[in-house]
């Protein structure tokens, strides 16, 4: 394996373990890694913005390379963008309002018809779709007979009833202009239960999501970082980090206690 890759994996494993030390408690290793991440991320973002956006769309438009046309109109949005940066100077903050007014005003004008046509109407149509055969599956031929009877009656299927009840009770719950008492209150309660089921399902998925992130890191530490080619970086660095944490704890215990206000990036 090339030296740069070995070195890179050692750095990656070390920084990963530094972050994991936070599980024990806040400590200088974690703080170092956190601040390094902030600095590197900011510079990464700046580099990508420059090479992917500012150079091709502003620099090359104003001072074009050979063979390309000049588009001086790019100066206007560049100046509007610069007005936003002027928010750092209190006396010139007001200039950024022009940029925000342009962006947010135009964005609102684009958004209203787009959101109605692309989200509101299709979702409403799907909700009021009279027969939803896919929502409630019985074994055949009972399913076809069931769907057939409901279709003949012109009535929504049980799944459709659940959908209609769920959607409208949740919308009722979020309507705060009328007090939630009486009929409105009862419908809101049904809405609350639908929301609880949805949030429960979302929590189940969230657990899966968070665990996935940890699995990714463990695979990196145990498979990539602990191979012979990288001289068992994970094991060596894990032991070193534990030793340094113990030393840190011992030194902290010996130091006279002074309040240390927590500062983070």
């Amino acid at each position: 394996m090339p030296l740069n890759e070995v070195l890179g994996i050692w750095c990656g494993v070390g920084l990963t373990l530094f972050i994991f030390t936070f599980l024990y408690k806040d400590n200088p290793f974690y703080r170092f890694a956190e601040h390094l991440y902030v600095g590197v991320s900011a510079a990464y973002w700046m580099d990508i913005l420059y090479w992917n956006s500012i150079k091709p769309k502003v620099v090359d438009a104003i001072v074009p390379p050979l063979g390309l046309e000049r588009h001086l109109i790019a100066i206007i949005p560049a100046i509007l963008g610069f007005f936003v940066i002027l928010r750092l100077m209190p006396s010139l903050t007001w200039l950024s309002r022009i940029t925000f007014a342009f962006l947010i005003g135009a964005g609102s004008g684009i958004g209203i018809p787009q959101v109605i046509s692309a989200i509101f109407l299709p979702q409403l149509s799907a909700t009021l779709n009279p027969i939803n055969k896919e929502g409630f599956k019985l074994a055949e031929p009972a399913h076809s007979a069931w769907a057939g009877i409901w279709g003949w009656l012109g009535a929504p299927s049980p799944a459709q009833i659940i959908l209609l009840a769920g959607v409208f009770s949740v919308v009722f719950f979020f309507f705060f202009s009328v007090e939630h008492k009486g009929v409105v209150g009862n419908i809101s309660v049904v809405g609350i239960y639908f929301i609880m089921i949805s949030f429960g399902a979302q929590f189940g998925y969230t657990v899966m999501a968070r665990i996935s992130l940890l699995i990714g890191r463990m695979q990196y530490l145990m498979q990539v970082g602990n191979s012979r080619q990288v001289f068992y970086a994970s094991t060596i660095l894990f032991v070193l980090v534990i030793v340094f944490m113990i030393l840190y704890e011992v030194m902290a215990a010996r130091r006279p206690t002074t309040p240390e206000p927590g500062e983070s990036a």
Binding site: N52, G166, I211
Partner: protein
């Protein structure tokens, strides 16, 4: 001056909002061009304005360094990380490999040095790009691990706070457990028993509730957009005079 500071932005928001709203209903080529031009301008403005965040961050840490607040040493770490990565990106451009003759400021220097002579062969001048090396080994490791910590916290939250204290909490708990077991089953029999239940929950009550939430969000979005266009909502302008 009050006109430029207060009235002009509101008028501008109104004009832009109305123009872009009616553009949707116009099939003309001019309407199409307007949309293209706006999207291009938006991208350029976003790219330039993004530097506000970067300058703000650097200024914040400069202030900590200057005042020597507790923990100021970490601000040096921020500056060192920023400088190294910024140099890597500008000197070598953004790619997996760096061609010392072609890429970035290093490429400009090399070409000037060689005064138009033919470039050396690819194998001699291509190196691992430091920018990409830092991204893959530092940013990916740090970013991914920061969020990997959440797995521990969510397990702790599930243990300590996930209690059936009320009827609503019980419903939430049961739904969560059914989905967890049904989506990621450990054995075949769990898969057979709980997968259809989990699927039904996701496609029916969950979908109904989420659709209700979407309706709420969409209607609020439309109302807020109208308020912005008509100048009733001015929070986007920020504070000050």
């Amino acid at each position: 001056m009050t006109f430029w500071k207060k009235k002009f932005p509101i008028a501008l928001a109104f004009i832009c909002g109305v123009v872009m709203f009616f553009r949707f209903f116009s099939p003309s080529h001019l309407a199409d061009q307007t949309l293209t031009e706006f999207s291009d301008w938006d991208i350029i403005i976003s790219a330039v304005a993004s530097f506000l965040g970067i300058f703000s961050l650097l200024h914040n840490h400069y202030t900590k360094l200057r005042r020597k607040v507790p923990g100021w040493g970490y601000s040096i770490v921020v500056y060192v990380g920023f400088t190294v990565m910024a140099l890597a990106g500008f000197l070598f451009k953004v790619d997996t490999k760096a061609n010392l003759y072609k890429d970035g400021l290093v490429g400009v220097f090399m070409r000037m040095t060689l005064h138009g002579s033919p470039p050396p062969t690819e194998g001699v001048t291509t190196i691992v790009n430091p920018f990409n090396w830092i991204f893959m080994n530092f940013m990916v490791s740090l970013g991914a691990t920061m969020f990997a910590l959440l797995a521990f916290y969510i397990a702790s939250a599930a243990f300590r706070a996930f209690r059936a204290k009320t009827r609503e909490a019980t419903v939430l708990l049961i739904a969560a457990l059914l989905v967890m077991v049904g989506r990621v089953p450990l054995w075949d029999f769990l898969n057979t028993a709980f997968s259809p239940v989990s699927s039904w929950i996701m496609n029916n009550p969950n979908m109904a509730a989420q659709r209700g939430i979407i309706f709420g969000i969409v209607l609020s979005q439309i109302a807020l957009s109208l308020r912005i266009i008509f100048g009733i909502e001015r929070t986007y302008m920020g504070g000050g005079d």
